[in-house]
Amino acid sequence: MLLIPCPWCGPREEAEFHYGGQAHVAYPEDPAALSDEEWARYLFFRDNPKGVFAERWSHSAGCRRWFNALRDTATNQIHGVYRVGEPRPVAS
């Protein structure tokens, strides 16, 4: 059971959170202007790195805030969390 540090509530058990996939995949400014391929890229394509990955989590059983976490997908170590709108920190 991971302990995920909610930027608001502090460390809580993984079971209190919902996973939201890759972070920083912004909804396109003007979807209508995109080609089918560009739109498909937004819809269906995500990174799958071995190593540090910026991803979205929601503290759904707590403060209901969405936030971003830098998690190493190989070790499960969380290198940092940051609130929505804050820039991605440099992974240590």
Binding site: W8, C9, G10, R12, E13, E16, A61, G62, C63, R65
Partner: protein, 191 residues
């Protein structure tokens, strides 16, 4: 005509039986006023709502403030960076808070019937909750002045520690489940 009914009303007798010993006191505190407040904590509206409550909205995550007494008692628990739960005795403060907010951006929603309040008190209250709550409930970590939204057993709850126990606010539809769970877990302490 039938009277209104609280979500754990059917458990009053069993709660009482479980409270006969020294170890635990279990009870539903029905029909409390509960108000969900959403407002930008740095806005003047937040200050005015605090004035209406008689105590400023707590801005530190995981904290709760308690003010007043008797019919004027109010507990304000931090639920999120722009969300609070106001718990007070029956009899509404809703209009007072609405007045505090005025027509500025924010929301004041009556959620009195959304959750019911269970009291889990007595010397073994912490041990009882630890059967289903992953938070560290040690008084040095989670004593009066704190609050948390978390899970107890498999139900989401708002936990508010008091001097002699905890308020457990649980959604009405989960109240019967949580009551059964508490009574089952209490068996060791009350036998």
């Amino acid at each position: 005509m039938a009277e209104r009914r609280s979500p754990a009303a059917a458990y009053a007798g069993r709660f009482e039986a479980a409270s006969r010993g020294e170890a635990l006191r279990l009870a539903e505190l029905p029909f409390l006023t509960q108000i969900d407040v959403r407002v930008d904590p740095s806005s003047p509206a937040a200050g005015d709502i605090g004035d209406a409550l008689g105590v400023p909205l707590p801005v530190e995550p995981g904290t709760a403030v308690r003010a007043g007494s008797g019919a004027d008692e109010v507990t304000v628990a931090w639920l999120g960076p722009d969300e609070w739960l106001v718990v007070a005795p029956e009899g509404h403060r809703l209009e007072l808070l609405r007045k505090g907010l005025g027509d500025r951006h924010g929301s004041i929603v009556d959620v009195s019937a959304q959750r019911t309040t269970l009291l889990v008190a007595g010397p073994r209250a912490r041990d009882l909750l630890a059967h289903g709550c992953a938070l560290d409930l040690h008084p040095s970590v989670f004593g009066p002045g704190a609050c948390a939204q978390t899970t107890l057993a498999r139900a989401q709850v708002v936990l508010i520690p008091r001097e002699d126990g905890f308020l457990v606010l649980v959604r009405s539809s989960f109240a019967a489940y949580l009551a059964e769970w508490l009574l089952d877990a209490a068996a060791e302490y009350v036998a």
